[in-house]
């Protein structure tokens, strides 16, 4: 047993030297999370604002002016142009100079005063789907608020009142940061593991190792420990940056957070190991690792595309993506302050996944040489 620990330590120590001596690995491990966080946090925001807006005010009354100014005042829209007639809308859309047009018809104020349905029309350029959806949602909210503020108090229009919990401002950055953690862990953990093991195959040092008393379990554990440690550092890094730069709340317990992270890490390390055991060269192993871990996490974890919107077969497929469980748990712990008992289902799924992947990798690893 003592020998087991010492030999494992020897492997782990060697692996740390590899990492430290390889500028590429250090960049990949520590630089990439920062770059991705910046990119996703600042660059790729799903919050839509500054939508160029044109206004066709046919009513020309205080009420109509109030509607258009409040729409702009909310900050989502920028008044780009005023059009005389609704017939000009088509041309404006085609030029792409505006993404939305507010049309306020004759009699808007009159209808409002009478308490009758007053209809202003918002035309949205649907060629940019995301912007369109969000613009409509925002505008509807503003229009309703404006109208009720003016006169419709009496009618007490029925309909759901939406209150957003946990992320009332609907800041998409929160989703981004948690998504980046999942992406980074899946990418770096599986990629680096795939690289380190396939490099030993490719260079022939694996055979040299097999000629020593070192066992396969010692090789695997010794190799995984430093990368698991690296994963921890990355998780901490992204969380810290996330909470400083994007005010990401951490409402749940860090213990739960790191329990989930460890399990997910193990699954991803196992994926990398599996990729390197199946593939014989570094190049193929890296592609395998991306295919096995990164792609499914990016596409099917619910980070970029909501799982609920997927067709049934993709939803089924997403059940086999560990990132899905980790992301759910992560968001739960970060934003809702969920305890372990709430995210237990996800934790169990991660445990099963990590165990299965590692077991499979170890099995395949055994078979390689004979």
């Amino acid at each position: 047993m003592r020998r087991f620990f010492r030999r494992t330590k020897a492997i782990a120590h060697k692996e740390v030297l590899h990492i430290v001596r390889d500028a590429r690995a250090v960049y990949l491990a520590l630089g990439l999370p920062v770059v991705m966080l910046m990119l996703f946090g600042y660059g790729i925001s799903q919050d839509v604002d500054h939508i160029p807006l044109a206004i066709v005010d046919q009513d020309r009354t205080p009420a109509s002016r109030h509607l258009s100014t409040s729409l702009v005042a909310a900050g989502d829209f920028v008044r780009e142009a005023d059009l005389v007639s609704p017939d000009d809308v088509e041309a404006a859309f085609r030029r792409g100079s505006v993404k939305a047009v507010l049309v306020i018809p004759f009699g808007y104020q009159r209808n409002l005063a009478r308490g009758a349905a007053s209809q202003a029309q918002l035309l949205v350029d649907g060629s940019d789907g995301t912007t369109a959806t969000i613009a409509m949602g925002d505008a509807a909210g503003i229009a309703q608020a404006t109208a009720s503020g003016r006169a419709v108090r009496a009618s007490l229009s029925a309909g759901p009142r939406v209150r957003v919990r946990f992320n009332p401002a609907m800041v998409s950055t929160y989703n981004m940061v948690s998504g980046v953690i999942v992406l980074i862990l899946s990418m770096v953990a599986s990629l680096l593991t795939a690289l380190t093991v396939s490099r030993e195959w490719e260079r022939g040092s694996m055979e040299q190792l097999f000629a020593t008393p070192v066992t396969r379990a010692e090789i695997i554990i010794g190799k995984l420990i430093p990368y698991a440690g690296l994963g921890f550092v990355q998780t901490l890094l992204v969380l810290t940056l996330g909470s400083y730069m994007f005010e990401l709340p951490i409402r749940g317990s860090l213990v739960t957070l790191f329990t989930c992270s460890t399990l997910f890490l193990l699954a991803m390390l196992g994926m990398g190991l599996l990729a390197s055991v199946i593939a014989k060269s570094q190049l193929v192993a890296v592609q395998f690792a991306m295919l096995l871990s990164y792609m499914p996490v990016a596409m099917l974890s619910g980070f970029m595309f909501p799982i609920e919107n997927m067709p049934w077969w993709l939803q089924g497929l997403s059940m086999a993506v560990p990132g899905r469980y980790y992301l759910t748990a992560l968001r739960g712990v970060l934003l809702k302050g969920n305890g372990l008992h709430v995210v237990l289902g996800n934790v169990v799924a991660l445990v099963i996944f990590a165990a299965a992947v590692l077991a499979l990798a170890v099995r395949r690893f055994h078979r390689r040489l004979m």
Partner: protein
């Protein structure tokens, strides 16, 4: 197993599907012997070594290395052997000291035991001054010495060296073999493969592998005497074909083209260099000179392998045997 035998192999066979890589090979290697395994690429040298090191499963036959049954306990042999694989497989991004420390750890050497052994092998292989050098920055010869050092840390009974000097310059190769000889004199058994014929001369005994079979096994001297008897001359002529034709009816033991010259072998009591030159000239061949030549293991190898190793059909015709 008697104490003076380090490796005992009986009817060892390795099949990869239909292909028989090693076929019914049997031999013994004495303790402290340098045992050379000579053969073309793909003749089954590495496969044999890898079976003996417990890295490949054995299809049939038996093999004992350092008293361990490799067929049934392939993992148990590792502590008793050192292995230097064909490909240089230390870590290039680690320093010399790091590599030694890692392989020390892999062989269960720690603390003072490790430091003592490390200093011993570094001294023996003259690596002391290179401790902090990156392995990747070392020239081939030094890398080989480091690889050997790593394989010797745990004082193995048998050391397996698979083409240890491939890609190493001649000076460093000679140096390396001096080290190997010293190791063997100290009692370590050396099992080495090579396809450098001149290196095989350093071995106590040489086994010739041809297409998975052990075609011959003896000391270099006896191999030469048995397979290539007689005396050898180098014949320099303006035209190899002409000399070949002229020599045809001289009743010689062998004629092999060797680049622009001919290797001509005569019986022990055959003509001397002067007489041979006279005879060839008399038959119309323009011979510039005839000189004595060493019979080498290369000649043995070519004899054993037969026509397969020879490229030209001309030599096939010229053979008088």
């Amino acid at each position: 197993m008697s104490h003076d035998v380090s490796v005992r192999v009986k009817d060892l066979t390795k099949r990869f599907g239909e292909f028989v890589a090693v076929h019914d090979v049997s031999f013994e290697v004495r303790k402290g012997e340098i045992f050379g395994y000579l053969g073309a690429n793909g003749a089954g040298k590495s496969t044999t070594i890898r079976m003996l090191c417990g890295l490949l499963s054995v299809s049939s036959g038996s093999a004992e290395v350092a008293g361990v049954d490799v067929v049934h306990r392939p993992n148990a042999v590792r502590r008793a052997i050192g292995y230097m694989s064909q490909k240089f497989s230390l870590y290039l991004d680690l320093t010399v000291a790091d590599n030694l420390e890692f392989f020390g750890g892999a062989y269960d050497l720690f603390g003072r035991t490790f430091r003592e052994r490390r200093d011993a092998v570094m001294g023996e292989l003259a690596l002391e001054t290179l401790s902090d050098e990156l392995t990747g920055s070392l020239p081939g010869g030094l890398r080989q010495r480091l690889a050997l050092a790593c394989a010797l840390l745990h004082e193995p009974e048998v050391v397996f060296l698979d083409e240890p000097t491939a890609g190493v310059d001649p000076g460093a190769r000679r140096n390396f073999w001096r080290l190997i000889r010293r190791l063997a004199d100290e009692g370590t058994t050396i099992f080495v493969t090579t396809h450098y014929m001149d290196e095989a001369e350093y071995c106590d005994r040489v086994g010739l592998m041809v297409a998975g079979e052990l075609a011959a096994l003896d000391t270099p001297e006896r191999l030469k005497r048995n397979f290539v008897p007689g005396r050898m001359y180098e014949v320099h002529g303006a035209d190899v074909g002409e000399v070949q034709k002229a020599a045809k009816d001289l009743g010689l033991l062998g004629i092999e083209p060797f680049g622009a010259i001919l290797h001509v072998r005569v019986a022990e009591n055959g003509p001397d260099a002067q007489a041979l030159r006279r005879e060839l000239s008399r038959r119309g061949a323009r011979v510039t000179s005839v000189s004595d030549a060493e019979i080498t293991l290369e000649d043995v190898f070519l004899r054993v392998v037969g026509g397969a190793a020879k490229a030209s059909n001309a030599s096939e015709e010229a053979r008088t045997t």
